[in-house]
Symmetry: C2
Subunit: 201 residues, 2 copies
């Protein structure tokens, strides 16, 4: 029998297991047994904690988003120079490679968000927070005279997040010419034009 755990611990385990199962089988392809297998439990045990699988999936997606976003904020918090902040943030929004689990998970939401309002709201809220994050960097840089913005900071921020999203899809789809490095350069090309700064640090 699998090691017995407290309610809270087990729920956390299951959220992790669901994340992996979603990545492996797709948000619309996950089955109870997939989650159970990832967690090393039986279907019955999963059902004991989450009588409704779809609730667990939403929690897993939510947790994945939060983790992704907080990780970015944490990296940001270690820096002060706006140029460095911008460059590091662009990199932290891209997958490390085609298998990056955080981005793979987020990508699963893209299609589902059009069908499922809950996923739409989740994805939209992540987008908006990332836009705010970039906007803060851009505004600070502009205030310090380091950046000369070519448009509203919100416009540039929206485009930066949009570019990250899109290249995340390209990389996980294994575009033969666009990997993490190339994608970063492409986004930086825009960032340079938008900030009037050559972004070398």
């Amino acid at each position: 029998m699998a090691q017995r755990k407290s309610r809270d611990d087990r729920r956390l385990d299951l959220i992790e297991a669901a994340r992996r199962a979603i990545i492996r089988h797709g948000i619309d392809g996950v089955q109870l047994s997939h989650v159970a297998e990832e967690a090393g439990l039986t279907s019955g045990a999963v059902l004991y904690h989450y009588p409704d699988l779809s609730e667990l999936l939403v929690e897993a997606q939510h947790a994945g988003m939060e983790r992704f976003y907080e990780q970015r904020l944490r990296q940001l918090a270690t820096l002060t120079d706006p140029v460095e902040k911008l460059v590091v943030t662009i990199r932290s929004g891209l997958p490390t490679g085609p298998l990056d689990p955080d981005v793979r998970l987020l990508n699963e939401l893209g299609g589902a968000a059009g069908r499922n309002r809950v996923y739409g709201v989740l994805l939209t809220s992540l987008y908006d927070r990332q836009v705010s994050m970039y906007q803060a960097i851009l505004d600070t840089g502009a205030a310090l005279g380091v950046f000369r913005l070519s448009a509203d900071s919100v416009t540039i921020a929206r485009n930066l997040v949009a570019l990250e999203d899109a290249y995340g899809y390209r990389i996980t789809a294994r575009h033969p010419l666009i990997g993490p490095g190339e994608a970063a350069e492409l986004i930086l090309s825009y960032a340079r034009a938008a900030t009037g700064n050559d972004l070398n640090h």
Copy 2:
């Protein structure tokens, strides 16, 4: 009994039915019965034409991509002015609204492309063709002296397609502030910076 049709006609019907079914249930959630219902047939009839459902799904995705791309080329062919071409092409890459079926279908591929090589290849080839399309517009405009490009035409083209993709997701996810018009303006903001042209025509 549903009207009997020739092999070719029925296969086209089924591809259309599969497109609708994918949009409704997700690429990993579609079932034989969904496709049959969309086509007004029984599961047996679907299986008679496509013994393997996944083959039908690939064909449906392929057909959807081709339709989307050819539609854009057709709009492009009616124009000569590079500025007009660029503006019209940007608009034609965005969904008409959250329910736009062509974009909804493409969005379904995003997550699946990370798991399924065939979908990855399909999506990558669409991306590359769209990049070429933009590149031709940019190069022509540059040659005519209308555009003063801020970077490689391939870099700008890649970013333009990436922005379209990403805003397609935002719009189908029903972002409350970003609709087709707003997305077009956001992309145009980048296009202006990248071409040095204010893109009024």
